[in-house]
């Protein structure tokens, strides 16, 4: 399989502290990779570097062989890197539908059209509604996003990401705070996307059951460094991972 994303010695330093330290990895196309590691290991920062929210102090990022290190987040999104945020990040005073519609609009490349009414873009609205249905949020379409309960906002995040239709999806703890009842539904959504087989997905999660079920491979970050990268079964057997990350809570996986 071809490599879609690759980093080379990626490093970022905040003051004296290296949050991401010399990470080189490559991600094959249509692969599902999870990223785990203790809090503050640098997972989110790693995503921020890939998606362009932060620019590295050192190292390079390649998307399909092209050096994208210096590109703006906007351009990277257009080139196919989409992401969701760990800290809920939506447009609070716009309706839920409007939130998703903006993503669809961007995906369809409708950017500087000033003189046509947005209602004449029926497709955009339809597409947005479809995405809301997918994440079980259709009956909140006209609520203001800022008034959603926490779990609902997480779902909205995912809908917006899906609407972007990017080749690469970076999911940062998509189900954190989602209710036990709904996690399976979202899991289903992610599984479906995976099953369609046209996306490459990276997932940050602390829910090991979910990770084990979905991942083709897992990479482990520790103190900003890449500790291990391999098949799920092997990773959970790694002693450092067990003692410093998993603790005793997930004995069942290691057994």
């Amino acid at each position: 399989m071809e490599t879609i994303l690759e980093t080379n010695g990626l490093t970022i330093q905040f003051g004296g502290h290296k949050a991401v330290d010399d990470i080189s990895f490559s991600l094959p196309e249509k692969h599902f990779k999870s990223v785990i590691g203790p809090n503050g290991a640098g997972k989110t920062t790693f995503f921020n570097l890939i998606s362009g929210q932060l620019s590295p102090s050192k190292g390079k990022i390649f998307l399909k062989g092209e050096d994208v290190t210096k590109m703006s987040p906007t351009l990277r999104t257009r080139k196919g890197i989409g992401r969701s945020f760990q800290i809920t990040n939506v447009f609070p005073n716009l309706t839920v539908l409007e939130n998703v519609r903006l993503a669809v609009q961007s995906q369809m490349g409708i950017r500087y059209q000033m003189f046509r009414h947005f209602h004449s873009y029926k497709k955009v609205t339809e597409e947005a509604q479809e995405k809301l249905m997918l994440v079980l949020l259709e009956d909140k379409a006209y609520a203001l996003a800022g008034n959603l309960a926490h779990g609902e906002k997480r779902k909205l995040e995912i809908a917006m990401l899906l609407a972007l239709h990017t080749e690469i999806l970076l999911l940062d703890e998509p189900t954190a705070g989602m209710s036990v009842e709904e996690v399976p539904a979202i899991l289903e959504v992610i599984k479906n996307i995976k099953a369609q087989g046209d996306r490459t997905i990276m997932l940050i999660e602390h829910k090991m059951d979910m990770i084990m079920e979905l991942s083709d491979s897992i990479m482990v970050l520790f103190n900003g460094q890449l500790l291990a990268d391999g098949a799920p079964k092997e990773i959970v057997k790694n002693e450092t991972v067990q003692s410093a990350y998993l603790g005793g809570l997930y004995d069942e996986f290691t057994a």
Binding site: Q53, S72, T74, R78, L102, Q113, Y142
Partner: protein, 333 residues
């Protein structure tokens, strides 16, 4: 939602129609002048709202563009000839300078938090004020100068119709823009810049475009403002001019285009009415106190501005109540 916009368009068309027939019913010319000034300030306030209400950019120097339009018009009509072609030239020159300046200021500061844009525009407009003061061969300093206007514009009634048409045009034009996909992105930027960026929109482009749009519209308002006075002086660059636009926009409703129009009307009428009262009743001699109280009361009773607050009431009625939506949810599940 959709229905609301249609309602507002109809309402505006109705108001427009009433304003068209107004002069034939009530032809007091000083009243027409008051109305004309309302139209012009409404344009200016709408231009401000493009920044504040639709893109979330606060500017304390919007008078800069107003003044650019004003002086372009004054100087060109005074120096060359007071004919229509020169007036169009003046508008063009004003727009070009405004485009240029807003482009530069935008590029310099729109990367930053809007807060700094506000202060930097304040600084720039201050510099323009000083320039208008100091370039005395062109501007005659702060006393300013009078000039003649093209013949068709001399008649106050004609000028009334021109300004009314212009205001309606600007309203519908800006409305179309704010409801275009472009306008939706502006709103998104107002709500959450960083998120807009990660959706694949280059926010700087939008902000600079919004700033140019606002600048050119303000410059247009400035041109017509001095046309109505046939006189220009440095007060067009003053902070008070910016504050006027700001007050009209906020009192009418930030983020709505009808708001600034209503705001302009409200403030001008309140002003007119209070000063009239001041002549008759001695307690109103200090009418500015009542004017100040008007602002205070407006904030207390119409926190989102008049149009904004009314819109909110409308929305309350339209959205299904929470209970209904839950029942729906259950029925679906």
């Amino acid at each position: 939602m959709r229905r609301y916009f249609q309602v507002s368009t109809m309402a505006m068309a109705l108001v427009g129609f009433m304003l068209v027939v107004l002069p034939s019913i009530y032809d007091s010319r000083s009243f027409l002048i008051l109305m004309t000034q309302i139209f012009i300030f409404a344009i200016f306030a709408m231009s401000y709202d493009i920044l504040l209400g639709f893109t979330g950019i606060v500017s304390f120097g919007h008078a800069m563009f107003f003044g650019i339009g004003a002086y372009s018009t004054g100087v060109i009509l005074d120096r060359f000839d007071h004919t229509l072609p020169y007036f169009f030239l003046a508008i063009l020159v004003g727009s070009l300078i405004s485009t240029f300046i807003s482009f530069i200021v935008g590029l310099l500061t729109l990367r930053l938090k809007s807060h700094y844009y506000a202060m930097l525009t304040l600084a720039f407009s201050g510099l323009f004020l000083v320039a208008a003061e100091k370039w005395r061969t062109l501007t005659k300093g702060n006393d300013g100068f009078t000039f003649r206007v093209p013949d068709v514009m001399i008649d106050r009634t004609t000028f009334y119709f021109i300004c009314l048409a212009l205001m309606l045009f600007v309203y519908f034009f800006l409305k179309r823009i704010t409801q275009s996909p472009f306008g939706k992105v502006m709103l998104a930027i107002r709500e959450n810049e960083q998120r807009t960026e990660s959706l694949g929109f280059t926010i700087l482009h939008y902000k600079v475009l919004a700033s140019i749009l606002a600048g050119v519209t303000a410059s247009l308002a400035g041109s017509f403002y001095v046309m109505s006075l046939r006189f220009v002086n440095t007060s067009v660059f003053s902070i008070d001019t910016t504050l006027d636009a700001l007050l009209m926009t906020i009192i009418g409703g930030v983020g709505t285009l009808a708001g600034p129009i209503l705001g302009a009307g409200l403030i001008e009428f309140a002003h007119h009415w209070l000063t009239e009262l001041a002549k008759e009743h001695p307690i109103f001699e200090r009418w500015l106190i009542f004017f100040g109280i008007l602002y205070i009361v407006a904030v207390m009773f119409f926190p989102a501005g008049i149009v904004g607050t009314i819109q909110k009431w409308g929305r309350k009625k339209q959205t299904p109540s929470k209970k209904q939506s839950i029942e729906k949810h259950k029925a679906a599940g």
